[in-house]
């Protein structure tokens, strides 16, 4: 499978022999500093700072309404935080449009699957390559010359992704008809087609059965391992979070209450209180 996974030319994140350095010592890919976001009187995020380092799997956890999805929405430009800065690949920005974030290499999936329901699996994943295509559309219209070459090249990449996610059988099916678990997989495929440097996954395993969760976990690890993609994921299944992630950020009511390795976070009293509730 390793050679079909050569989706881009980047070096794999880790080899079999060389143990990668611990996440804390790697280069910072994204840093969030003092970000605050509110909707009218509702403070969704209050002064949160953390960083995501190259090649790690970073989990964002917290009880419902903690501001996790809002955080992802700030990172990929759906929301504009009122305060604070977000620095991606050394570039700091206050306001960024979602397509600019996509252009810089941030891909994502959504909590409630957001696919192009009327389109086939293939077209959905091809849509993920929009930014990689640049030929003039008149060429496309003619289906000739350089555009045809390009289309073929992109089709090959898409086929690699389809093989990787093991969804060959549903290539031509309109995604609206697929079961939920497969829709989530197609959505991951579309995000992968962007060849993102940072992949944001919003509850990739919500609503899945154990088997589907195991499959999805394997895909996430493989993407991280073999493509070297940095991943930030929101997940409620603690077993999955503890197994997959290098480091964990814990939010509660829009405030960061813990940040560290899975073991550190698990032992943190604030986290235990937030999850179990505590008498004040």
């Amino acid at each position: 499978m390793a050679d079909t996974l050569a989706i881009d030319d980047r070096a794999p994140g880790s080899g079999a022999d060389a143990e990668p350095p611990p996440a804390k010592q790697r280069e910072v890919l994204l840093s969030v500093a003092d970000v605050a976001l509110s909707f009218g009187g509702v403070k969704a995020i209050q002064g949160v700072s953390f960083d995501i380092r190259k090649g790690e799997i970073r989990a964002i956890i917290g009880p419902n309404g903690a501001g996790k999805t809002s955080m992802l929405n700030c990172i990929n430009g759906f929301y504009h935080p009122q305060e604070g800065t977000i620095t991606f690949k050394g570039e700091t920005r206050r306001r960024m449009r979602p397509y600019e974030a996509a252009k810089q290499g941030i891909g994502r999936t959504f909590q409630n699957v957001a696919l192009f329901k009327g389109m086939s699996t293939l077209d959905n994943i091809m849509a993920g390559r929009t930014l990689k295509m640049n030929r003039n559309f008149f060429w496309h219209l003619l289906r000739h010359g350089p555009a045809m070459e390009e289309e073929k090249r992109h089709r090959r990449k898409v086929e690699e992704i389809i093989d990787f996610l093991d969804i060959q059988a549903i290539r031509r099916t309109p995604v609206g008809k697929l079961p939920y678990g497969l829709q989530k997989r197609v959505e991951l495929g579309r995000a992968l087609a962007m060849e993102p440097e940072l992949l944001l996954l919003d509850e990739p395993m919500a609503g899945m059965n154990l088997e589907e969760k195991e499959d999805m976990s394997r895909f996430i690890v493989d993407v991280n391992d073999q493509l070297g993609t940095t991943i930030a994921l929101i997940e409620h299944d603690m077993g999955v979070v503890m197994d997959l992630s290098d480091r964990v950020v814990v939010l509660d009511h829009g405030v960061l209450i813990a940040d560290g390795t899975p073991a550190e976070v698990q032992a943190n009293q604030n986290v235990i209180d937030a999850y179990l509730g505590v008498a004040h």
């Binding site: 990929n76 759906f78 449009r97 979602p98 397509y99 996509a102 252009k103 891909g107 994502r108 959504f110 957001a114 696919l115 192009f116 329901k117 009327g118 389109m119 077209d123 091809m126 849509a127 993920g128 929009t130 930014l131 295509m133 030929r135 559309f137 496309h140 219209l141 289906r143 609206g176 008809k177 079961p179 939920y180 579309r190 995000a191 087609a193 962007m194």
Partner: protein, 319 residues
């Protein structure tokens, strides 16, 4: 028999033109799920701009074909600017609002365009610059032996303009279908139609796509305006032809380009046939003006038995 052929031909031409109008709606509906009430006035506005620009050029000595072509290019420019303005002023501030709000906004747009059109070009009826654009005029009559009443010679009269209209509309429809199906922008358009946030997340710029869509709808409106204008006149009354697109859309489905074509042909031919065969059978007032209500009657039937239209997407969602 000759009467039947004549009727079918006229129905066919009317149908292709209905399809063209419907296509303008489908384009915008697909990309933004907005029913663009302003499509009818865009037809009038573009036709008025074309004729008005030509008149202005003619006053400065540029007449005939070159003048008409220049006017055409200028009109295309105006339609592009209109698309940009609509995106900036109407759509961008209303992003993520419910569809009904955008629908109402297109009402506003309609009256705005009527106002601007009247202010610039006046309310008087204008004549389409048909011959200057190089469109054929005149007609040919074909003799069909043995097809007339009682086995006599039959005649079919075909307007050259109608042939041109049918050909141009067909080419236009094919080009648009190819554009949607095979280009990167076309795929992006379909993606935007399905989910805005997902389209944004893969790096499709909504603003860009909306301009493309509205400009394309503007081009379709211009072609429609030229063709309809050449068959009647260019006046604000022309905008009611947009209402004829409604039964076409119900028949064909709001999201389907082939649907718009087939729907247009069924309505066009149905209307003419109804006038020929149905009208004599109906008594008194019912028989009059069959052409004006038959289309809606057919559409009503479709709504009862196949609400998504012939080709519309029946979106099957798991819940």
């Amino acid at each position: 028999m000759d009467l039947l052929i004549q009727t079918v031909w006229e129905g066919l031409v009317a149908g292709v033109l209905y399809a063209l109008i419907a296509l303008g709606f489908v384009l915008i509906f697909k990309a933004s799920s907005v029913f663009n009430f302003a499509q009818g006035i865009m037809v009038v506005f573009s036709a008025l701009t074309l004729v008005g620009t030509y008149e202005a050029l003619a006053r400065n000595g540029l007449t005939g074909f070159p003048g008409a072509m220049l006017a055409l290019v200028i009109t295309l420019g105006v339609m592009y600017l209109l698309a940009v303005a609509i995106e900036r002023i109407v759509l961008r501030p209303l992003v993520n609002q419910p569809d009904i709000i955008l629908f109402m906004a297109t009402f506003g747009l309609t009256y705005l365009l009527i106002g601007i059109g009247e202010a610039i070009f006046g309310g008087a009826t204008k004549t389409m610059i048909t011959s200057q654009l190089g469109l054929p005029t005149g007609s040919t009559s074909f003799v069909l032996p043995g097809m007339g009443p009682g086995g006599r010679e039959g005649f079919v009269l075909i307007q050259h303009l109608d042939i041109a209209a049918a050909v141009i509309a067909t080419v236009m429809i094919c080009a648009l279908a190819a554009f949607f199906q095979y280009t990167r922008v076309g795929r992006a358009l379909r993606a935007v139609a399905d989910s805005h946030k997902a389209a944004l997340s893969v790096g499709i710029s909504l603003n860009h796509i909306w301009i493309v869509v509205w400009f394309t709808a503007g081009i379709v409106a211009l072609v429609t305006g030229i063709m309809w204008g050449a068959r009647s006149d260019v006046s604000f009354a022309l905008q009611i032809i947009a209402l004829k697109a409604l039964p076409v859309l119900i028949l064909g489905g709001f999201t389907s380009i082939p649907g718009a074509i087939v729907g247009g042909l069924i309505i066009g031919i149905g209307e003419k046939m109804g006038e020929l065969y149905l009208a004599p059978m109906l008594l008194g007032a019912m028989g009059k003006g069959v052409e004006s209500w038959l289309a809606y009657f057919i559409a009503l039937g479709f709504l009862m038995f196949r609400p998504q239209g012939l080709f519309g997407d029946k979106i099957i969602e798991r819940i």
